[in-house]
Every structure is written in C-alpha cells, then in structure tokens.
Amino acid sequence: MTGAFSDIRVIEIGGLETLYAGKLLADQGAEVILVEPPSGHVSRRLPPYAPDGFDDLVSVPFAYFNGNKRSVCVPLGEAAGADMLARLIAGADVVLAGGRPADLLALGISAQRVADAAPQAVLATVTPFGWTGPWADLHADDLVVQALGGLMSLGGYADGRPLRPPAGQAFIGAGILAAVGIAAALVNEPRKAQHIDVSAQETVVLALENAAQFYDLEGRVRARHGGTELQVGRGVYPCSDGYVYLMLGLHAGDRFWVKFLTWLDEKDAEGRDALAGDEWRHRDYAESAEAKAIFKRVFEGFCATRTKAELYESACRRGIPLAPVNNMADVPHDAQIVARQFFIDVSSDAWPHGPAAAPGAPYRMTGTPWAGSYSPEHLGASTEYVLDGAR
C-alpha cells in the first residue's frame, strides 16, 4: 500500500514555516525535496542538539521534521541557483514556500511565476501573516506571531507575564492547515494552478477557543489564569512525584462531583466533610475564592501522599477526568501509549545520533497508512538524483 500522495513531488523552500506541512505530505507518500542553500537549511541549526558530536545532522528538530525528505543544495542568490530552482519548480506538483512574502518574492517565488513554470502546480505559501496586507512583511518569529495572534494573552500565570505555548507551535499549526489546503487542492483532477495562502497568525487566532466569542457576546476579555483554578476541581494539583490535572467540569453539571466525593469517601480523605454541603453544587459558590481555597486544601492533602500513576489509575477507574501532567520521559511509558505502540525506534543507522524514540503516526488509516521515517539526509545528498533525474 502506498500513501495518498505517492505520485506527488513537493519542492519545499524557505524557513521554519513549512517544515511540518512538508512532513505530513512526506509521511503520506509524497516525495518532498527540501531546498537548502550551501550553508544548510536554517533548521539544521535548530537546538536542541544531540549530545554526541557535531555534524550537519546534529539538530534533533531537523531529524524530526525533515527525516523523511530529500535534500537538494541550491546556491540561492547566484545565477546558477536561480536556474536550478526554476528547474525544480518546473518539475513540481506542489511548491511549498515559507517566510516573509518579500523574501519569497526575492527568490522568484510568486503565484504567477510558479503558474508560468508549472501550469498544474499548487503553490502553498506559509507566511507569518499572509501573502498580502498591512502586516505581511513584518519581522516576526514564532514568539511574535503567538503574541499578535492573541494566544499569549491567555497563557502564563495569573500573577506573571504572558508565556508562549511550546516552541514552534505557530508554524507547526500553520503547517497542519497548509497540508489540509494542499490536500484539498489535490483531491480533484484535472489540476490547475492554485495558490494556497496560509497565515500563521490566523492559525494562532483559531486556538483562542471561545475568547473572541466571550468578548463579542458578553463583552468580557478573557485573561490568563495559570496557577489558579477557574472553579473548584479544574486545574493543576501537586502530588508526591509531580502534578495531576483534574477537570470536574462543573460548568456542565455535577455528574463528576458525585463520583469525586465517593472517591474521597472510599479513600478516607482527610477533610472531605468540608465538601459535603449542597452549596458545592452551585456554580456561584464553586467559583468563589472561599470554595477554591477549601477544595485546594482538601485535594492537595489527598494528593500529597500519592503518585501521578496512582491517582490516574484510581480516578479513571471511577470515571473521574483526571490525568497525570506527563513530562517527555513519562509519555513513552504510559500504558496506553505502549499498548498502542505509538512511539517508534529510530536506529543509529537511520540517524547517526540515535538511537532515539520519536512519535509515530498521528492517524491510522487502513488504505493509505502513515509511512513516516526519521532518516534525515546530509546536506545536498539528493542533489544529483533530483536534478539529473528523469524529470
């Protein structure tokens, strides 16, 4: 079985903006060719670095995002480079370009140029703010896009400064939506030239959940609340070996509250009588400072002598929505993750800085299964193959 895009060649060029889109397409069978200048694609220098020696494959993000792509070295900025790029584009089914529009135009990439060179190609641009508009050429990175997208106003401690989501999410998210747009453009034949114009800022705005609607419908501007609970039983609580996340979801009724009280009863939790009254089932009380303080005291006391794993197992057996706050070392050992064989082993044959373990498939499909790999190429390893090849 081959992937849905096994007949598709993607020319990928630019900065960090395109990487996850290219990976998604490669892992569904596309031949994805990463165009790199002689100094190497900027992602080759992205930390963290594997600790065992320095070469052009040492970057862990490079291995993760580009492990299933070919590398072609093109002296961009020189005449020979412009020629090579033109040849690559002419043979492309998809041109996936990322960065500021001004920088891409300087490379000779525009909807018109691509359509002229490859009349049936899909051009997908992943830019910080979109291909046109008053902010199109602003100087930005992931942090600035997250800020202007509004998500950072929701992130951080209530008494602290705005904190960003995990690194790179603005462009990773935009990459997922870019792959969606490219896939949509490739569903139907015959193909004609199309420009899919993706904005990372707009992607971030999608992640605001209901904040925009809260402002529009109730005039309320949601703010960050990290480190506090919005209501009892909703937040992070310390336990003996880390933290757990509890989500009793009292806004949707009290069906978990009853199970929760039963749990505390069965475990003889100290101080649980303070939670027995009827007032706890009323939203106003559940959101009061007094209620939160009482709940915190009782529940943190209960968790203090129990591990993440213990609390997780005990709560879930009773149908209570609690989860361990897993770190990166915990997740691969989670019983469910292990049973699903979600992580895959990356041998040192595949990646010289291995062995390593990486996430496998984000989806499981019976007809066109995920076919990812983590065997990144040295700079320009496929230059001859691609440029001297049949196309």
């Binding site: 569904q28 862990v60 995002f65 979109g130 508009g133 902010w135 602003l138 100087h139 930005a140 942090l143 600035v144 896009v145 800020a147 929701l154 992130g155 400064r161 904190l163 960003r164 995990p166 999410q169 935009a174 997922i176 939506l177 870019a178 969606v180 747009g181 896939a183 114009d197 707009e202 705005v205 959940e209 209901n210 925009a212 609607q213 809260f214 402002y215 529009d216 419908l217 109730e218 501007v221 960050r224 609340h225 992070v236 310390p238 933290y243 989500m247 879930c316 989860a323 706050v325 897993n326 989670d334 469910q336 993750i337 979600f342 990356v346 373990a357 984000p362 989806y363 499909m365 019976t366």
Partner: protein, 405 residues
C-alpha cells in the same frame, strides 16, 4: 457573489456524528472546503457545547452558544433518536448517499448503536469512516474519560509551559481540540478522499487525540530520548539574545520582542533609549537565575512606550516585535485580520448573528468559507429528510413516534 461551486469538496457529503471539540472542528474544516455536512443530533443526547458559554447576551439556551456556533458553521442539523430502529435506519440511509462518516465518541459507542465501520460498509462500501477518540480505540486506558485539557496533560503539552519551581500551566486553553486533533483528522480525511477519487476505495481512519497532540511536540520527545531533558522554558529560546514579553507604559499591555543578532540588539537598545554601551554578550552570558534582572533593565526602556507605538518603532528598525494582543484587540482593531477577512458575521435565526473564525488559508481560485452559520438543533430535519425522499406524512409520523428529537 461567492463561487461556492468551485470549492474542492463541493460534491462531497458528510454524515457527522461528531460533537464537543475536536470532532466538530474536523467537520467544520470540511464544511469550509465545500462539503455538505449533516450533523446528527438529539435533544436526548445533547452536544454539551450547545450549553457551554458564552451565550448571546449571557442568556443560556441550546441555540445561543457562541462556542458551539464557531465550531459548527456550515453544517445542517437533523434531530434523530438513534436508539429507535427507525432513527437508525434513517441514519444508515443518509449514509448510503454520503462519502464520509465522522465521530469522536468513546470507543465502542458507534458499534453499540449499529453504526460501526462494518455496519456502515454494508450500506456504503466505499465509505471513508473517521473514528476519533481521546486515547485510541483499544488499549488499557481507551475508556478513560477526558477533555482537551486532560489530553494536554497526558501528551506532555501542559508540562512544557511554565517557570522553574512553579506548576506547569500549558497554553491556558484546550489547545489539542483546536489545532492538532482536528487538523490531523482533516488531513487524513482529505488524503483518503484523494485515494478514493483515484481508486474508488474508501477506508477506515482511527485517531487518538493524545497521539495527534504528541506529534506536534515530536522534537521535544526525540530530544528527551537522546538525553536532552525537556523542562518548561518560560519564554526562553536558546538561539536568541532577547526572547520574551515585556511591560509597557499601560498596565496589562505587553509586548513580545525577539533579538537574534548583534545588529538587532543595537537597534533594540537604540529605539528603547537604553544604554547602547551594553554588549549583547552580557545579556546572553547572564548567570542563571538573573534573567529577571535583564528583563527589568529592558523594561526601563519598554515602559516608556505604549505597546502599539513600540511595536511600530521596533519594526521600522528591523526588530521582531509584536503587541501581546487580547481577544478585544484581535476582534476589534487588528488591521491584518481585517485585511484577511478573518472574522465572519453570519446570520442566525434565533440570535441575529454570531462571530465566526475563518480558516487560516485562502485560495484565489476557490473560496474557503462556510456557506452559512451554525444550525439550531434539528433546524434542517424536514429539509434533509424531504430531500432524501420522505413524504411529509412520513416525516410527521416519525415526529409523532418520537424518532425525530
């Protein structure tokens, strides 16, 4: 006049059993690409987001939630009691004419209803069937109850945001529901659609939302596995000289600034009017634990400006800077989002209008937009069933028998 006929999925039909978060956003994406999405609902088994705030004017009601609206634009709603044999048969006959069936119920739910993949395949052999659960269809924890926030905790997302010595706080949102889960699911469905166009074959797609979320953190997992321990990093970035959020002249107005080169550092200090005699190396070589001193020093400059003016001044000097915008900013005053047409106001029969996000992609050759706003519960029952060939008297009989609620 928007040319909806040019949308790539304009000939595609979806029978949509999804609800709450990730599932609903997946089929919203398909609707924005042109698909005809029929959402199967029931007042007996209400989509919980219908009764989740914010509500129009703060008044609760199953048709008044803006949260529900945003994730359900472009879908038609029919009310069907799937526990009745007539209701089940109605669903299956709609599926016969559809290309895609989607759900994000707990594992086993659809099978118990008689709507599992094998059941559906009998009626529509080339169906593309999506099943999206919290942690996957099988396995020791497959039946655990969860939400976007618990998935964030399980998948490592929560852990990665925070400050040393304080509890980890994640993004402050149900991030998995909004980007990783629906995004990967929509990509998988579109891949399946392409395969179907080329071969005539459907397929079964199964997604664990926890796994889909872990995939966007893949480099962190890989780094951990080669011994580079991943702890919450506040706003730090190893390759940057400055990379953080700073106070400005107004309370609760913040600015994000990133500086990577000596030139950018000089530009920053010049614009801020703080000492340009200080070398960037002093900043990068700050002893651990003294980062706040650097931040405070930079803030002696940033607090002399309002955020918008400072952003403009820094951008003109070639420095990456952006206001930390609030929901009010992005809705009311962001000029780029206005240029992109990000905010859609679509009519709604009960509420007047709702505010919707547009997808972050545009295409000159075809519109990316929902054709209409979110539905009231069961709003299109008669319309859909008539189009499926039922006579008005048959529909009335089903209503009387309690099948259509």
């Amino acid at each position: 006049m928007t040319n909806f006929a040019a949308q790539p999925l304009s000939n595609i039909k979806v029978v949509d059993f999804s609800w709450v978060g990730a599932g609903s956003y997946t089929t919203r994406i398909l609707a924005d690409l042109g698909a005809d999405v029929v959402k199967i609902e029931s007042s007996k088994r209400l989509d919980q987001i219908r009764v989740t705030p914010p509500f129009k004017d703060g008044v609760p009601g199953v048709n008044r939630s803006g949260y529900f609206a945003d994730r359900n634009a472009g879908k038609r709603s029919i009310a069907v009691n799937l526990k009745t044999s007539e209701g089940l048969e109605l669903a299956l006959s709609l599926i016969e004419e559809a290309n895609i069936v989607a759900n994000n119920f707990a594992p086993g739910t659809m099978d118990r209803l008689g709507l599992g993949y094998e059941d559906v395949r009998v009626r529509r052999p080339d169906v593309i069937y999506l099943e999206m659960s919290m942690q996957g269809r099988e396995g020791p924890n497959a039946r655990h109850v969860g939400y976007g926030l618990t998935i964030g905790a399980l998948a490592g997302l929560q852990h990665l945001v925070g400050e040393d010595g304080r509890p980890p706080i994640g993004t402050g949102t149900n991030y998995p529901d909004h980007i990783p889960s629906p995004g990967h699911a929509a990509f998988a469905i579109l891949s399946a659609l392409r395969h179907w166009r080329r071969t005539g074959e459907g397929q079964y797609i199964e997604i664990s939302q926890t796994e889909a979320t872990a995939c966007v953190l893949g480099d962190a997992f890989m780094a951990e596995s080669v011994g580079v321990h991943q702890d919450p990093q506040a706003n730090d970035e190893a390759t940057a000289i400055v990379h953080d959020t700073f106070r400005t002249a107004a309370t609760e107005e913040w600015i994000a600034i990133s500086v990577y080169t000596q030139d950018e550092w000089r530009a920053l200090t010049r614009v801020l009017g703080i000492s340009t005699a200080v070398d960037a190396n002093w900043v990068t070589n700050t002893a651990p634990g003294s980062e706040h001193a650097v931040r405070e020093w930079i803030e002696t400059g940033t607090t002399r400006w309002r955020a918008a003016e400072l952003m403009e001044g820094l951008q003109r000097a070639g420095v990456r800077a952006g206001v930390v915008q609030t929901a009010r900013d992005v809705v009311d005053s962001d000029p780029q989002l206005r240029h992109r047409g990000h905010w859609l106001r679509l009519p709604h029969p009960e509420v007047g209008t709702f505010l919707y996000n547009a997808l972050p992609l545009r295409c000159a050759q075809w519109p990316v937009a929902p054709r209409f706003g979110a539905p009231c519960l069961g709003e299109h029952t008669t319309q859909v069933l008539s189009a499926a060939g039922l006579e008005p008297s048959e529909i009335d009989k089903l209503k009387a028998a309690g099948v259509l609620e």
